[in-house]
Structure formats: structure tokens, C-alpha cells
Amino acid sequence: MADRDSGALTELHQAHVSLLHGLVRRILADHEEVREVVQDTFVKAWNQANVYRPERGEVHAWLVFIARNLAIDRLRRRSRRAAAMAEFAKDTDDSEPAPQESTERRDLFEQTMTGLRPAQRQALELAFFRGCSQAEIAAEMNTPVGNVKNHLRRGLLKLRQIIQRHD
């Protein structure tokens, strides 16, 4: 894609559009916004293809963070934080792997979820999907900021261990 090959972009889109739709949908409820953010993600990836560094992350991870940051920007711009918090409380209760997911992916999901403490998971989800600062997470979880930092750091460390074991 860094060579401005639209075929590569098409392949990338074909391979990741569903994943990114699901991801952005978790952050933004509005269908139109989801679609716009997913489009913007690929456009941004196209424009920044020359600065992508494989040694810093897989392609799907690169796309995930572009999409996540674009979606969070929208969320912040439109000041929907309060409504999103309410949705989050609802979402965390019923977020389960989709039935069409592969066994391998489901296994990893279960490992991830069982490996994380609930507070770690909640803190990571609030940070990732809602763009909450540590202070906001602390307020949401009714815990000191120091605890939130620990939850986030240790949660990510745990994730790394799980992923490394999986690899």
C-alpha cells in the first residue's frame, strides 16, 4: 500500500472491514457513524502507509488503533460520554463472542477473559472503548486513580503473557 497500490488497499479492506465494523460499533452506536469511521480508517491507513512499521505491531493492530482513535475522537467531539457510559454498563453484561467465531479465536477469548481480573478488564474496556482518562475510570469504578493505573498496567501485562503463550 505504501507503493500506492489500490489492489493492496482492496485486499486489506476485504480482510478487515468486518472486524473494524464490530470494533467501531462497540464504541459508536450510530450505524452511519460506524460506517464513516471505518471508511476514514482505511483512508487514513492509505495516507499513512509509508509510516507503518511492522516491528511495532501487526497490520490488524495498526488498523485497530487507527479505527479506535478515530471513533473515540468522534465520541469526544459529540459529548456523548454520559450516554455511552450507560450503554457500556449494559454492554459489559452481554458481551460474548459471536457464534461464528472460530474455535481458536474463542479459546483465546476465554483465556483472555479468565486470565484478567474483572477490574482489569473493566478498566481496559473503559480506556479502550470509551476513551476514558484514568481519572474518569477511577470515578466510574469508584476507586482511586492509583488502583486504576495498576489495573491497566497489570491487565495489559496479563494480556501480553496470554498472547505470548498463545503464539
Binding site: 471508511q39 485497530v64 473515540i72 479502550f128 498472547i163 505470548q164
Partner: protein, 390 residues
């Protein structure tokens, strides 16, 4: 890696760092391969966590195409690969060919001018008029036949008779020039054909791209429409449905997407009845006679504009003291709310109406049309159900 590094990586990935911190962290990743590797693990694991936490939603082929068309419409593409013979299209080919021909003519002219028999027609042996072409390998240049080297790498002319015929030499030159001209003309034709083929391919490609982009724009402009079918009370009780796809075949363009009618006959025109943004007669089914078939309707709701469209068929005649009241129950509510009355000119006929809900309203989960008194209309559905959906 320490917990501090992990915390920094998380803040970097989530865009929570100040610009100078971000720069410093990026520089550290640049100069420290171990840190870069640890960062990669953080990035990949957090991305995997995020993807594992979301519900995968299948994206239809139509949505994929529209999305891709929208993306391709926003990026600057490099020119499509063109099928052409590069040497033919090179800018120097025609001047080079012309120079070659000029050189050939010049050499022929020089050869002709320097021929001793030509210069001195009275020299011995100039008695005949036979000219033959001989390849250079046939005999060494400047051989005993009396001619010096011609200096050309191509065919040299050898006079075997006492007099060289200038007319014959010109003829040979012209033959070669004509052959070269024909060849160049053939190349020009092939080049023109290639350009034509390329232009055709370009036009096709651009046409497809425009169609996809237009489709994407149209879809984005319409937004998402929630559709449902309404039937009379008996059919509702029996569970009989005509099938929305069949009912709305003319309107629905893709599964789940409907194009809102446009033009003067579209819903949205002025209506005298309160509560409706507008109501218009459908172009068909307006015979003015009481309908023989059961009433039915289909409804779509534009979630972007909070506007509902109702196409009503075979409505029953209604007494002047009564009216057909339209109710909707938003998905987040347990109560029906009145959105207007069916215009009286549609009673006993078919028609199309539209209504609007306040911005931020939730999509109606149920639509109901009841027969109510025109005066003192109730706050909740009270009269006989005429149509109900879904």
C-alpha cells in the same frame, strides 16, 4: 519490561500522551529494539483483547462495495496500468525513424554521386544498364569490380555493367522508402488501436467507479430505514402477511434499504390533517370506489431524519364524524403515541403519508391505525383496529 513501560505503551497506543512525551517515547522505540519488540507485544495483545471483546457483525457485500467505493473515492490513486507497447509510445521513436530514413536517403544519394561510372559515363565498360543488389558478404568492399567501398553497413550497390542506371537506383531507394513508410504507417495504426483500447478501458473503469461512488453516496444520503408491514386486525390475528419484500418491491433497492420517493407525488406534500408532515394519493388504486380487498400497508422509518413513510392500500370508507388515527410505539416505550390522522381523501382508497417524530426519537417498533371519533380523539388507541404492524 517494567510496568512503567507497559503503562507508557498503553498511553501511547490510546493517544493519552502529551505531544512531547509521545515524541520521546517514539524516539525510544526507534533506538531500542528490545523496547520496540515489547511495544509490539503490547500493541498486538491489546488489539487482540479489543477484537475479542466485540461482537463480530457481518457486513453485507453491498455494504462492502459501498464502503470500498467510498474509500477509493477519497484517496488519490496512481494511474491504472495501461496496456501499450512502450517503444511505440516513446517520444523519440518517430524522430528517430525520420532521421533513419533521411540518413538512408543521404547514403543512397552519396553512393550514387560517387559512383565513377556515374561520374564518367564515357569510362570503359559503361556499355550496359544492369544493376544488381548484393549483400556485403558476397564480396569484399572495394573488390576488383572497380567500385570503392560504399561506407554503408546495409546493402551495397554493385555495378556489373559498364553504366549504372540512375533511374534504377532511384527506384530501389523509393522501394525501400516506401517499405519503411508502410512499416511506420502500420506501427501508427497499431499504436492508435492500443490507445483506443486503453481509452475504452479507462472509460469503463471510470464508469464503474462513478457508479460505485454514486451508490455509496446515495446510500449514505438515505440513511438507514426500518421497514414493517401493516395488516388488518384479522390478518394480524392469523399471522397472515403479504411479505414486505413483495409489497415494497418497487421501493426497496437492496435488502434492508429503501429509497425515499421523490418528486411532487412523494410523501411530504402538504396535507390538511394535523400531525402529518404530508400526505399524497398514490398513483394507483385511487378508484374512489370502496375497496373490495382487505386493507394493508407498509411502512418505513428513516432513522436519520426521524421520518416515517406509510403506504396505505384499500382503506375502508370512514364516516365523516370519524377519522383514521395513526399511532406509533417507539422501541423504548410501552405506550402508543398519536402521530396524526390519515387524510380524509384517502378514506375508502389508497394513499401515502409521512409523519415526523422529534429528533432523537427511537425507531417505532409498532404502528397502529385505529378508527376514532374526529372530535374528542382519545389519548390512547381506543377504537377498532384497522391496520397493525408488524
Amino acid at each position: 519490561m517494567t510496568e512503567d513501560f507497559t503503562g507508557d505503551a498503553l498511553r501511547y497506543l490510546l493517544g493519552e500522551m502529551e505531544p512531547d512525551q509521545r515524541r520521546a517515547f517514539a524516539e525510544r522505540l526507534n533506538r531500542d529494539p528490545v523496547a520496540a519488540q515489547a511495544f509490539k507485544t503490547c500493541s498486538d495483545s491489546l488489539a487482540a483483547f479489543a477484537l475479542d471483546s466485540v461482537e463480530l457483525t457481518p457486513v453485507s457485500e453491498f455494504e462492502r462495495e459501498a464502503s470500498l467505493a467510498g474509500i477509493l473515492g477519497q484517496i488519490t490513486l496512481k494511474p491504472a496500468t495501461q496496456v501499450r507497447a512502450s517503444w511505440v509510445s516513446s517520444p523519440w521513436i518517430w524522430p528517430a525513424a525520420a532521421a533513419f530514413l533521411l540518413l538512408l536517403n543521404l547514403l543512397q544519394f552519396v553512393t550514387f554521386q560517387t559512383s565513377p561510372r556515374h561520374l564518367d559515363p564515357s569510362s570503359p565498360g559503361n556499355t550496359g544498364g544492369e544493376v544488381i543488389a548484393r549483400e556485403p558478404n558476397d564480396a569484399p568492399a572495394g573488390s576488383a569490380n572497380g567500385l570503392g567501398p560504399t561506407g554503408t553497413a546495409a546493402t551495397e550497390l554493385v555495378a556489373t555493367s559498364s553504366v549504372t542506371d540512375p533511374t534504377a537506383s532511384d527506384s530501389e531507394t523509393h522501394r525501400r522508402v516506401n517499405a519503411e513508410s508502410d512499416r511506420l504507417e502500420q506501427l501508427r495504426r497499431e499504436y492508435a488501436q492500443l490507445r483506443q483500447a486503453r481509452d475504452t478501458l479507462d472509460a469503463d473503469y471510470n464508469q464503474i467507479l462513478r457508479q460505485l461512488a454514486r451508490r455509496a453516496v446515495t446510500e449514505q444520503g438515505i440513511g438507514r430505514l426500518a421497514a414493517m408491514e401493516l395488516v388488518d386486525a384479522n390478518s394480524y390475528a392469523r399471522g397472515d402477511r403479504k411479505g414486505l419484500t413483495n409489497l415494497a418491491r418497487e421501493l426497496l433497492t437492496e435488502p434492508g434499504f429503501a429509497s425515499a420517493p421523490t418528486g411532487s407525488g412523494a410523501p411530504g406534500a402538504a396535507s390538511a390533517d394535523l400531525g402529518f408532515a404530508g400526505g399524497t394519493l398514490l398513483p394507483t388504486g385511487n378508484t374512489g370506489t370502496p375497496p373490495a380487498e382487505s386493507p394493508y400497508a407498509w411502512s418505513v422509518f428513516d432513522e436519520k431524519e426521524y421520518r416515517g413513510y406509510l403506504n396505505l392500500y384499500n382503506l375502508p370508507p370512514v364516516a365523516g364524524t370519524d377519522t383514521l388515527q395513526v399511532w406509533v410505539k417507539p422501541a423504548d416505550s410501552q405506550e402508543f403515541q398519536a402521530v396524526g390522522q390519515v387524510p380524509s381523501q384517502f378514506h375508502g382508497r389508497s394513499g401515502s403519508v409521512t409523519y415526523e417524530l422529534p429528533p432523537g426519537s427511537v425507531t417505532p417498533a409498532e404502528v397502529l391505525i385505529t378508527l376514532e371519533p374526529r372530535q374528542n380523539r382519545p389519548a390512547r388507541p381506543n377504537g377498532p383496529v384497522i391496520l397493525r404492524g408488524p
